[in-house]
């Protein structure tokens, strides 16, 4: 799971009001190189919650991102874009968990894929697929 995915995920448990960002418990972090694509990265800048990314990146062992939301002008800096690229796309949480900030519920991350399936009593009725869907 890249931090880009983490940045788009919220706790989906019934009754949780602000389930974002999920706290990361990192057991195994891997770095996978991806081609640097400045246009893509710039495009993502407006979609990203900066603080969530900077905090998550630090937990994953990369503390190079500024804590405060950078001004848009940083997008002209190649050095900044490289760091942003690394944090967003190259750091992978391979094993670990994502923890709901309100309830403490842990969502496991195995083989790099987060599992957000809920138990029946955690689901909003309108989000319920079927009762058996809660028993993976």
């Amino acid at each position: 799971m890249r931090l880009l995915t983490h940045n788009m995920l919220s706790s989906n448990i019934k009754g949780v009001i602000n389930g974002f960002p999920l706290r990361i418990e990192a057991e195994k972090v891997v770095i996978k190189e991806v081609d640097f694509n400045p246009d893509f990265i710039k495009n993502m800048f407006s979609k990203i919650d900066w603080k969530a990314l900077a905090d998550a990146s630090k937990i994953m062992g990369y503390a190079e991102l500024p804590e405060e939301v950078p001004d848009h002008s940083v997008l002209d800096s190649d050095e900044f874009l490289q760091k942003f690229h690394h944090a967003l796309l190259q750091l992978h949480l391979e094993e670990g968990a994502l923890v709901c900030p309100e309830t403490g519920r842990r969502f496991p991350v195995n083989k790099g894929i987060p599992n957000m399936l809920l138990h029946e009593d955690e689901m909003n009725l309108d989000a319920t697929c079927t009762s058996s869907a809660s028993n993976p």
Binding site: M1, L118, T130
Partner: protein
């Protein structure tokens, strides 16, 4: 050179994961048929719900390919074996998607609300007894409950909330799902619709339908509610043509 799609020999498999079949091929054929439009559309965020073997999302990433380098892909499935197999299929083709084991798009709905420019969905559409829907393994890929609509009817509102202003949805239906009724229902939410691929096999008749937000339909809908009878006929004519097309095809079975 024809555009690349996923190669069957590179598609990963698992006993609990639905392999690419006629329905998957029909959905990819629809994407290929609309390739030029999709490239012009410049989708920024794409998503597949129920990615199974990964054949469709991999094909989509390859079809958009180098001409749409700035697209970001998400793929979900409620079967954890399926998300793993999707990952293997994507990797075998050198493409990437953000993967999530979840129910429909649960967990992504808040942050991605109104942000998805392109969705592709091959839902569990086979009519089955209600208690077969949503099992943990292979059957979750096809068991669709009454008229095959149980999961479809849960996915559509989620798609509506995720799709951006310019969002397009390509979704596969079986004739038994009553696609005409689905088109009418989506029209009430302001969507235009069009059949992109229709295919009959010995066993089933499949439709891939494209939905898009159509501002004309929305405006006419509002005027109709306020009692205005001067609403332009365009939307109604359009709908009538859809009805005749759909009913024509369904009576042919």
């Amino acid at each position: 050179m024809p555009p690349r799609i996923a190669q069957i020999r590179l598609v990963s498999s698992h006993p609990q994961v639905y392999p690419p079949c006629d329905d998957s091929f029909a959905l990819v054929d629809a994407l290929l048929a609309d390739r030029t439009k999709l490239l012009d559309h410049h989708p920024s965020i794409c998503m597949e719900i129920g990615s199974g073997s990964g054949y469709v999302i991999t094909s989509l990433a390859l079809i958009l390919g180098s001409e749409s380098k700035n697209a970001l892909y998400f793929a979900t499935d409620m079967n954890p074996h399926a998300t793993t197999v999707t990952r293997e299929t994507l990797e075998a083709h050198g493409v990437h998607a953000e993967l999530l084991t979840t129910n429909i798009a649960s967990g992504l709905e808040k942050r991605l609300s109104g942000m998805v420019d392109l969705m592709v969905i091959n839902p569990p559409y086979v009519p089955t007894p209600e208690d077969e829907v949503g099992g943990s393994g292979l059957s979750s890929a096809w068991a669709g409950g009454e008229n095959g609509r149980t999961v479809i009817d849960k996915i559509l509102p989620v798609a509506d909330s995720l799709l951006s202003e310019k969002g397009w949805l390509y979704m596969l239906f079986l004739a038994e799902n009553d696609p005409l009724q689905i088109c009418l229902q989506m029209k009430d939410k302001g969507y235009g619709s069009k059949i992109i691929v229709q295919r009959s096999t010995e066993e089933e008749t499949l439709h891939v339908i494209k939905f898009w937000r159509d501002l004309d339909i929305q405006i006419e809908g509002n005027e109709a509610v306020s009692g205005g009878k001067t609403a332009p006929q365009r939307g109604f004519d359009f709908l009538r043509s859809q009805i005749s097309r759909l009913s024509f095809r369904e009576t042919r079975q």
